[in-house]
């Protein structure tokens, strides 16, 4: 078997452990594990950035499936909104998949730093916003309602500013295919902050969407040999194990703490990538 990289049992074990940690944090925050996994595979293990991105993209698909199974039956996934936004996010994913080969590493680092930095600031500025209407309000065609364990109430919401949500979903698709970070990292804060979707519903809907979004570019990364099967397998298996732990903990954590943790993680990731460019 011939792989362009030397893949030892130690590399496999480290990638699997990194996948588990990334999957746990990703499931907890509803953003996929890629935002942690890509910097780790690139900076710590020393994989070329494009291989790190493609490996991570496979874990995004796995995370999406596992997280979606866990939220089925709780009305948290907004299937109609998700499907509509997928038209935009898959288009972004396809565009990124087709152009990934031509992007430079420096371009990818700058892009990563900018995206994560902007979102960290956005999440922090809206920590206490709830986006919940009275239970009697009609949620409209795209809105939704679900029962929230934390408050013991039925949560009803309407979707606002749909064109903004579509635009950001397209951008999230590009981010997903070019950075391997799911794209939920963009959609969750934005659906929450600008479009009126509560954080838990935004996270569950986004988790469903990121699988299709990643699948819109992953076949191209695979065809271009950026996906190394043993490394991708190790990362996926690690992420699957980690996601289950993250979900268990996430069901018990308060929304405010989830937002603070999300902002802190994004800020660190952003600074690390700006530092790489210096």
């Amino acid at each position: 078997m011939d792989y362009p990289l030397l893949i030892t049992p130690l590399t496999v074990a480290v990638v699997m452990a990194a996948g588990a940690v990334a999957g746990g944090l990703g499931a907890l925050l509803g953003i996929g594990g890629g935002v942690f996994l890509v910097p780790f595979l690139n900076s710590v293990i020393g994989l070329p950035i494009k291989i790190a991105v493609a490996t991570s993209l496979m874990t995004v698909i796995a995370t999406s499936s596992v997280v979606s199974v866990s939220t089925v039956g709780r009305n948290l996934i907004n299937l109609r909104l998700g499907m509509l936004l997928e038209v935009a996010s898959a288009a972004g994913g396809v565009a990124a998949g087709l152009t990934f080969h031509a992007l430079s590493d420096e371009m990818l680092f700058l892009w990563f730093a900018l995206v994560t930095g902007v979102i960290a600031v956005m999440v922090l500025s809206r920590l206490d916003r709830r986006n919940i209407l009275a239970a009697t309000v009609d949620p409209g065609r795209l809105g939704g309602r679900y029962y929230e364990d934390e408050s013991g109430c039925e949560v009803v919401y309407r979707v606002k500013r749909l064109p903004v949500a579509l635009g950001v979903s397209a951008l999230a698709g590009v981010v997903s295919g070019s950075l391997g970070i799911g794209g939920g990292i963009l959609k969750v804060p934005l659906l929450n902050a600008w479009c009126g979707v509560p954080l838990r519903a935004a996270a569950a809907t986004s988790a469903l969407m990121i699988g299709v979004t990643a699948a819109a570019s992953a076949p191209m990364q695979y065809a271009n040999h950026y996906i190394q099967p043993p490394l991708a397998a190790a990362a996926v298996l690690g992420v699957l194990a980690g996601s289950r732990c993250g979900l268990w903990f996430g069901g018990r954590a308060k929304a405010r703490w989830l937002k603070l943790l999300l902002a802190a993680v994004l800020a660190i990731v952003s600074l690390v990538h700006f530092a790489k460019l210096l």
């Binding site: 698909i61 039956g73 499907m83 994913g93 065609r141 469903l208 695979y222 099967p229 397998a233 996926v236």
Partner: protein, 103 residues
């Protein structure tokens, strides 16, 4: 128009079962392939299992979209059936391009 809650719940249940099946099959293949890669690297089955597992993983969300089209058509919800078809068209572009590159 708001769809009947039982129809959406049925779609959600189908989607859930599909994800469980896709993740179980792909992770079993990846685990077996990885074990062979580590302990019997000369076996061609290692590479075959790893690649098959990755392909099943990529196909799972695509199948979810196909299942959704069927359900939206059954609900008579043509707006969402057509948005779902648009996603399938986009995914087809990627799969076709990848097949051309590999083939």
């Amino acid at each position: 128009m708001t769809p009947p809650p039982d129809a959406l719940a049925r779609l959600e249940a189908h989607v859930g079962r599909l994800f469980v099946a896709g993740v179980s099959v792909s992770s079993a293949m990846l685990a077996a392939g990885l074990a062979l890669f580590l302990f019997a690297p000369d076996q061609p089955a290692a590479s075959q299992l790893l690649n098959a597992g990755l392909l099943v993983l990529m196909a799972t969300p695509m199948l979810r979209v196909l299942v959704s089209v069927v359900e939206y058509v059954r609900m008579g919800d043509w707006f969402f059936a057509s948005t779902t078809l648009a996603v399938i068209a986009e995914l087809s572009v990627t799969v076709w391009s990848a097949l051309r590159l590999r083939g």
